[in-house]
């Protein structure tokens, strides 16, 4: 996890605006974001929460539960969100972990079904547009899991409180 935070902080520092100093004005934007996501880091959909911890960094978690024609998939995705460029149109990155539990009940009498749990990580790069209390995001990500890496896309809409 340390390398994840280091990477985000490094990225954030690399794009720091010259005017920002240790005595910069306090963060004025709402510190909490609640959102729903489609085909994002949490699977088929996600419900997420983010807490802003600095001007550029937030900590978040998203999760989902889906019954996909009998196969039950639960996900939990803690992550770090970092604003790279912009204010109303924002380039952002996210790094985090993905935990998934899948239960496959048997549709036939001769088999008991099975379940499995796994974990991995993801890195995302996305665009965000902000209004006063609402934001929308679109992102592309790479998920790395048990023996596989895969590209993935997601869109989200959220409210800021």
């Amino acid at each position: 996890m340390r390398w994840v935070l280091s990477s985000v902080l490094a990225a954030s520092t690399a794009y720091a605006e010259p005017a920002v100093t240790a005595t910069a004005t306090p963060v004025e934007e709402p510190a909490n974001v609640f959102y729903v996501e489609l085909l994002g880091k949490a699977g088929a959909y996600g419900v997420g929460y983010e807490r802003q911890i600095t001007d550029r960094l937030s900590l978040g978690i998203a999760g989902s539960y889906a019954d996909l024609r009998g196969q039950q998939v639960s996900t939990a995705t803690p992550y770090v969100h970092a604003r790279l460029l912009g204010r109303t149109h924002t380039l952002f990155t996210e790094l985090g972990a993905v935990f998934v539990h899948t239960r496959t009940p048997s549709p036939v009498p001769e088999w008991e079904g099975m379940s499995d749990s796994g974990g991995g990580g993801f890195a995302a790069l996305g665009w965000q547009h902000d209004w006063k209390h609402v934001l929308v995001r679109a992102s592309g990500s790479v998920l790395v899991g048990e023996g596989r890496a895969t590209p993935w896309l997601g869109v989200a809409i959220g409210v800021k409180r």
Binding site: L38, L39, K41, G43, A44, A66, L68, R69, G70, Q71, V73, T75, V98, F99, V100, H101, T102, T104, P105, S106, P107, V108, E110, W111, E112, M114, D116, S117, G118, G119, G120, F122, S141, L143, V144, G145, E146, G147, R148, A149, T150, P151, W152, V155
Partner: protein, 292 residues
């Protein structure tokens, strides 16, 4: 918005029926009548039977497929070859299975699953030994958002002197989740009695599916429990042993190496197995040596 509309559009997958019984090939008439070849040239019974399975991607280039098999040190020595996604058209000189088999000196059993254009699409078993008791079974029909298709299985006994080896060939749907995949596969497995070799294109892709439309490549990639893993667990509970592990690819698509084809043995010992990287299809062939 488009994704939301897609989700609404596709939320209609259903299992329309439970499939049909095992039917003797000779009793099936009309457009889906099977095509069986004459007994092949007699040969000595081996101590090990080499069985292979290969999705030939419609099998249009019959000469090329036969040449690829003949040029392969592995597949050219196969005693039985299961083929999937092979077709037949009235304007062609015989079914594609028959033309490939004839070039390899094998007999054949082509079992159409459905009408395709003015011809048929199905599966076939090619053999260097005589075939007995050919049977065909329609598998449960999975009604999907688009392009739903009839799927079938075929079974036959390979005559090896006084012995008979039951072999089953299967081709399952592509865009279905693993629960529906087991539901479609099960009737062809549970109704077998005694020793058997079962193989084919199980389309065991590494995704969960949103109603046969959107592959959830992300979550399944993380879990690592792709459909091939679940399929192997199902077969293990039926006392079948698979030829190759889930990590051995039989098809290459962008980003993924996936195992969607395999062979399974019940009450037979697999002594060697592997993948033959043949040209001529989007799949590679899986082979296994089985002690008799």
């Amino acid at each position: 918005m488009r994704a939301l509309a897609l989700l609404v559009l596709v939320a209609c997958t259903d299992v329309r029926d439970q499939g049909g019984p095992w039917e003797p090939a000779a009793e099936i008439t009309g457009e889906l009548a099977p095509d069986l070849g004459p007994p092949p040239v007699e040969r000595a019974v081996p101590a090990t039977l080499r069985v292979a399975t290969w999705n030939v991607h419609f099998g249009k280039d019959t000469d090329g497929i036969a040449a690829n098999i003949a040029a392969s040190p592995v597949l050219s020595t196969a005693d039985v070859i299961l083929m999937q996604e092979i077709e037949a058209y009235p304007e062609e000189a015989g079914t594609r299975a028959s033309r490939i088999a004839a070039q390899l000196g094998m007999t054949w059993f082509y079992a159409p699953a459905r009408v395709e254009w003015n011809g048929t699409h199905g599966i076939a078993i090619l053999s260097r030994f005589p075939l007995e008791t050919p049977l065909v079974k329609q598998l449960p029909y999975i009604d999907q958002a688009w392009n739903s298709r009839e799927r079938n299985a075929q079974a036959v006994e390979v005559v090896l002197g006084e012995a008979r080896v039951r072999i089953v060939n299967i081709h399952l749907d592509l865009r279905i989740g693993v629960v529906d995949r087991i539901r479609q596969l099960s009737p062809a497995v549970v109704e077998l009695d005694g020793p058997a070799l079962l193989g084919g294109d199980f389309n065991s892709n590494p995704y969960a599916w949103l109603d046969s439309a959107v592959p959830l490549a992300g979550t399944e990639a993380v879990v690592g429990a792709d459909q091939a893993v679940v399929l192997d667990d199902y077969f293990a509970e039926q006392d079948f042993r698979g030829a190759i592990p889930t990590t051995t690819a039989t098809m290459r698509i962008p980003v993924y190496d996936i195992r969607i084809d395999n062979l399974y043995a019940h009450a037979y010992e697999i002594t060697a197995a592997g993948v033959d990287h043949l040209d001529g299809s989007d799949h590679w062939a899986v082979w296994a040596d089985v002690a008799l």
